[in-house]
């Protein structure tokens, strides 16, 4: 038995029926809509449109330019005509978006060329040009993450292939089908970041991926394929870091200062792809799953297609979806329409029928301690929930600060196990919002 403290986690049903399905390309869509502003899992600041209505665009052509570390370049994902630059609202969030009517040709942008960087700065600029963002969910530009190498030496690169969320198999397929690009990505990081250790963390429920990648890298001592137990949230930043290296990012610290960065396996592949083909990020694999879909599948789709397009490619709907989720069953974000469009970091679209969305009304906390026992970070969600019921704002803030609600990553384990069906993760989210505002107000008040 190891003396190392183990991180609490959950055994979840996997619902990964699409794991054995190689991704298939959907028919060329009639049009795509590419938001340039912060959406659910898109980049955090706006990119600036550089095309005008009526312009002819080709696949891979830059149509919106990033402004800073929070945004990423947007490239046309089909060839055709810019029909509109319009306001787009999805799931209560507003964004400017570029609508491109496809000419059905998927004509490649003639200006694209294979980048040939010679040093770190040039390499980062190329990654920046690729428009690649973190595909694990946060959608933080890949170049911005890698730029940590300008300040501190990145000894270890942790490649996240855990894919612990139920339903999603997109990264699994990527690992099976793009081994050469994973290798290319690792070579690039070796060359430009000077990293010496590469750990590919994969949950044991993907034995074929573990086997293939172990075989591929058997002669490279720098690369280690690390099988991880299939528990949730194995792929969460802190959890993966701890389980793979035993390190912890302490409060106020950045992971890079530990000499480690974590990059999602698909982000690495998308980055590497740019250095092989010169094509920026214009398409991705997405898992379409759930009880309301006729034939769940993995699809290769241009960014900006609607959920409706995806459903059509999956044989249509079995019944009306009661819930549409971008992402997995634990942390995925609900969508309000089949017309919502797929973003760069949308790894799955889950459509649930009415039965799957039935909920039990919450009842009072019975103090069973399951939320505490399951929290990967060792927090006390029951205490947050109790504090949020207090009227006195100062008291509320004092408890929330002491119990450190801000550490919470909203993985949802607490809500999942709660026998009283209390929406604990949602309450944590509200508590984080409350404490942010409270701290801001008290700073301004001179306290």
């Amino acid at each position: 038995m190891s003396l190392k403290k183990s991180i609490s986690s959950l055994k979840l049903p996997h619902y990964k029926s699409t794991a054995g399905m190689a991704p298939v390309r959907i028919p060329i869509p009639k049009e795509v809509l590419l938001p340039v502003s912060p959406m659910n899992s898109h980049s955090a600041t706006n990119a600036e449109p550089v095309v005008q209505v009526g312009d002819h665009v080709t696949v891979g052509q830059l149509i919106a330019r990033e402004k800073d570390r929070g945004s990423a370049h947007i490239h046309a994902s089909v060839s055709g005509t810019v029909k509109a630059i319009e306001n787009y609202t999805a799931a209560g969030k507003k964004a400017l978006a570029i609508r491109i009517e496809s000419d059905g040709k998927m004509e490649k942008c003639p200006d694209l060329k294979i980048p040939q960087p010679t040093n770190l700065d040039e390499f980062l600029q190329c990654v920046r040009d690729s428009g690649a963002v973190g595909l694990g969910g946060a959608a933080y530009p890949v170049w911005a993450k890698l730029s940590a190498a300008q300040k501190s030496h990145i000894q270890t690169v942790l490649i996240n292939g855990a894919e612990c969320e139920p339903f999603i198999t997109c990264d699994h397929r990527v690992m099976l089908e793009y081994g050469d690009l994973i290798q290319k990505g690792i070579e690039l990081l070796k060359q430009f970041l000077g990293s010496e250790e590469f750990i590919i963390g994969i949950e044991k429920n993907k034995p074929d991926a573990i086997e293939q990648l172990t075989e591929r890298f058997k002669d490279d001592p720098a690369v280690k394929v690390l099988p991880l137990s299939s528990v949730y949230p194995q792929g969460a930043k802190q959890v993966l870091l701890y389980n793979a290296t035993g390190k912890v990012v302490e409060k106020g610290q950045r992971m890079a200062s530990l000499g480690v960065i974590i990059i999602n396996v698909y982000s690495l592949v998308k980055m590497a792809e740019y250095f092989v083909t010169g094509m920026p990020m214009v398409e991705r694999i997405v898992t379409v799953e759930g009880s309301a879909v006729k034939e769940p599948k993995n699809l290769i789709v241009p960014i900006g297609v609607t959920v409706r397009d995806l459903v059509e490619a999956c044989g249509g709907l079995k019944e009306e979806p009661a819930k549409i989720i971008f992402g997995g069953a634990m942390m995925g974000k609900t969508q309000d329409s089949l017309d919502n469009v797929l973003l760069k970091a949308t790894n799955a679209v889950v459509l649930m029928n009415r039965k799957d969305t039935e909920k039990t009304a919450p009842s009072p906390c019975i103090h069973c301690g399951r939320c505490v026992a399951v929290c990967p970070l060792g927090l006390n969600p029951a205490a947050f929930s109790r504090a949020m019921e207090l009227e006195d704002e100062d008291k509320k803030a004092a408890i929330l600060q002491k119990e450190q609600v801000r550490v919470c990553m909203e993985c949802g384990c607490c809500s999942y196990v709660c026998p009283a069906h209390r929406p604990l993760a949602e309450t944590n989210n509200k508590a984080i919002g409350f404490i942010r505002n409270w701290e801001k107000a008290h700073k301004e008040g001179g306290k």
């Binding site: 799931a91 609900t334 060792g378 006390n380 026998p419 949602e426």
Partner: protein, 304 residues
């Protein structure tokens, strides 16, 4: 098309429910209840039914009168009534049992805000109340022949007294409360709760282990075994020191809770005039529970 549901994650649930947990506790108590009826006769059955019905009825009426949401469906009142009855000796008059249930549900639980809000264990508090109010009937153990008499714990302290054999102790052929004597039945219930993951093994094991080890040191092996099997130790350690609401929320604090229970039980049994201390020890530790949580708090991952 109807508007899709907008909600925050997670979008799936383990399926656990309060009612299922309570049902598991009831199922786990059934072997002890059946054994109690077999050992002490049908009057034990009447007392069990009386306590359960009185508990459910008083919660139902309290909610009705106070215009609160009806909560009897969560089965926690059944657990309270059942636990109280199993902690009483079979010779306790039915009306006293019923009164105990009303006390447990209304005064200890409902007035503090209902399920999850009480700070003291309702069944234990009610038992202690009955012990004070009706010492003559409640304090004495009922013997398997139906008479009221000395329990093994009374006898351990008495020179030359004839103690039941260890096998009799294990199967429950000795004086005591309805549900506390048959250790075999209690262990079956314990195993069931562990399999169903309703409780963790640490609390009962630490509680019983502390009493055993201290008795071993002070009285030797034979005494320690009797101390372990006698009185309400197993019943209390498995079913009442593991109550969710009145014990700390973290396992770490719960282990300290169990240690405290064991210490106090031993001290009362060994040094005080009272023959038994399980109930008092749990009640004392109930009060300490929030502090134990505070004292044993650990730094979260990535926090301070």
């Amino acid at each position: 098309m109807e508007k899709p549901i907008m909600s925050s994650g997670p979008h799936i649930h383990s399926g656990a429910s309060d009612r299922r947990i309570m049902l598991d506790v009831i199922l786990a108590l059934l072997p002890a209840a059946v054994a109690g009826v077999v050992i002490f006769g049908v009057k034990a059955l009447w007392l069990i039914l009386t306590c359960v019905i009185a508990a459910v009825l008083s919660e139902f009426l309290f909610n009705l009168i106070c215009k609160k949401k009806q909560t009897v469906g969560d089965l926690s009142a059944v657990v309270t009534g059942l636990l109280l009855a199993l902690n009483l000796s079979a010779n306790v008059p039915l009306w006293q049992g019923a009164l105990g249930s009303v006390f447990a549900i209304v005064l200890v639980k409902c007035l503090f805000g209902g399920i999850g809000r009480n700070f003291a264990n309702p069944a234990i508090t009610a038992r202690v109340f009955l012990l004070m109010a009706f010492t003559s009937t409640v304090a004495g153990g009922t013997l398997p022949d139906g008479t009221t008499g000395a329990t093994p714990l009374d006898l351990i302290g008495t020179e030359g007294a004839q103690l039941p054999t260890l096998l009799q102790m294990f199967l429950g052929q000795r004086g005591g409360a309805i549900g506390e004597t048959c250790i075999l039945a209690l262990l079956i219930g314990f195993a069931y709760l562990l399999i169903r993951k309703v409780i963790s093994w640490q609390v009962p094991v630490i509680f019983m282990g502390t009493v055993f080890v201290l008795s071993l040191i002070f009285g030797g092996f034979n005494t320690a075994v009797y101390e372990l099997l006698a009185g309400g130790l197993v019943l209390g350690a498995v079913f009442m020191a593991t109550d969710y609401t009145t014990t700390p929320i973290t396992l770490r604090a719960r282990m300290w809770f169990a240690l405290g229970c064991g210490l106090i039980t031993f001290v009362i049994r060994w040094f005080c005039a009272l023959p038994e201390g399980v109930s008092y020890s749990i009640l004392c530790m109930n009060i300490l529970a929030p502090w134990l949580e505070k004292w044993t708090r650990r730094k979260p991952l990535g926090g301070v």
